[in-house]
Symmetry: C2
Subunit: 115 residues, 2 copies
C-alpha cells in the first residue's frame, strides 16, 4: 500500500522557528533606542567622549565649545539632549554649567544588545 | 614688603583644561553616530536583537514580521537601514531574504565610548 504525501514547496513555506527567543522586549527597546537617538549625532558623540576623557570626569560647558567648533548655545542644546536621555548630568556653578557622565547609563543601554 | 595680587573672579574666569585628551576624533564620531542612528528606533533594536537571539545566528524576513507586528515591506525597510549601517548582512535565498549580524560591527561602534 502506498500513501500519497503532499509535496512541500520549500520556497512558499515559512521557515525556521519564530525569532523571539531571548530578544529584547518592547519597553527595553524603547529605552535603548532613546539612548542611541541621543548618540545619533557626531557632535554629541564627541561631547560625551570629551566629558569621559577629562581627568576629573566632568567638563565645563566653557571647555566644550572650542573643540567642537560650535557656539555655546548650540553646544548647550546638544548637552540638553544628552541630559534628557539620561546619559549626562548637569550642575550649575555660578555662571557655568558642568557636566559629568551618569554612571552605568550607557552600559545599561548596550547590556542586552547582541555584541 | 607686600605685593598686590589681582583678585581672581572665579565666576568669570574660564576653568579647567581643554577637554580634548583622549576624546573621539571627528571621523570616528561620524561612524559611531551613523551606527547609533540605525539603532535609534525601537523596532530596529528589536529586529537586531531577534537576529542575534536565533540559535543559527540568522533569521528569515518571514520570521521577523509577526513578532514586531509590522508588514513585510515595513520590516524590509527597517532591515535595509540596519544593512546600510553595516550592522547586518543580507542574503537572498529563493523568495526569502535572510539576515545575520556583521561580526564585530557593534563592538567597533562602542569600543571608544566612555563606558
Amino acid at each position: 500500500m502506498t500513501i500519497e504525501l503532499p509535496l512541500l514547496n520549500q520556497e512558499d513555506s515559512t521557515c525556521c522557528a519564530p525569532a523571539t527567543g531571548a530578544a529584547i522586549a518592547s519597553d527595553d527597546a524603547e529605552y535603548i533606542a532613546r539612548t542611541f537617538k541621543a548618540l545619533s549625532d557626531p557632535t554629541r558623540v564627541r561631547l560625551l567622549s570629551m566629558i569621559g576623557a577629562t581627568p576629573s570626569g566632568e567638563a565645563c560647558i566653557c571647555d566644550l565649545t572650542a573643540p567642537v567648533g560650535l557656539s555655546q548655545p548650540t553646544v548647550s542644546h546638544h548637552m540638553k539632549q544628552l541630559v534628557d536621555a539620561g546619559l549626562v548630568e548637569r550642575e550649575q556653578r555660578g555662571r557655568w554649567a558642568y557636566f559629568r557622565l551618569v554612571d552605568g547609563a550607557l552600559q545599561r543601554a548596550i547590556a542586552d544588545l547582541p555584541l
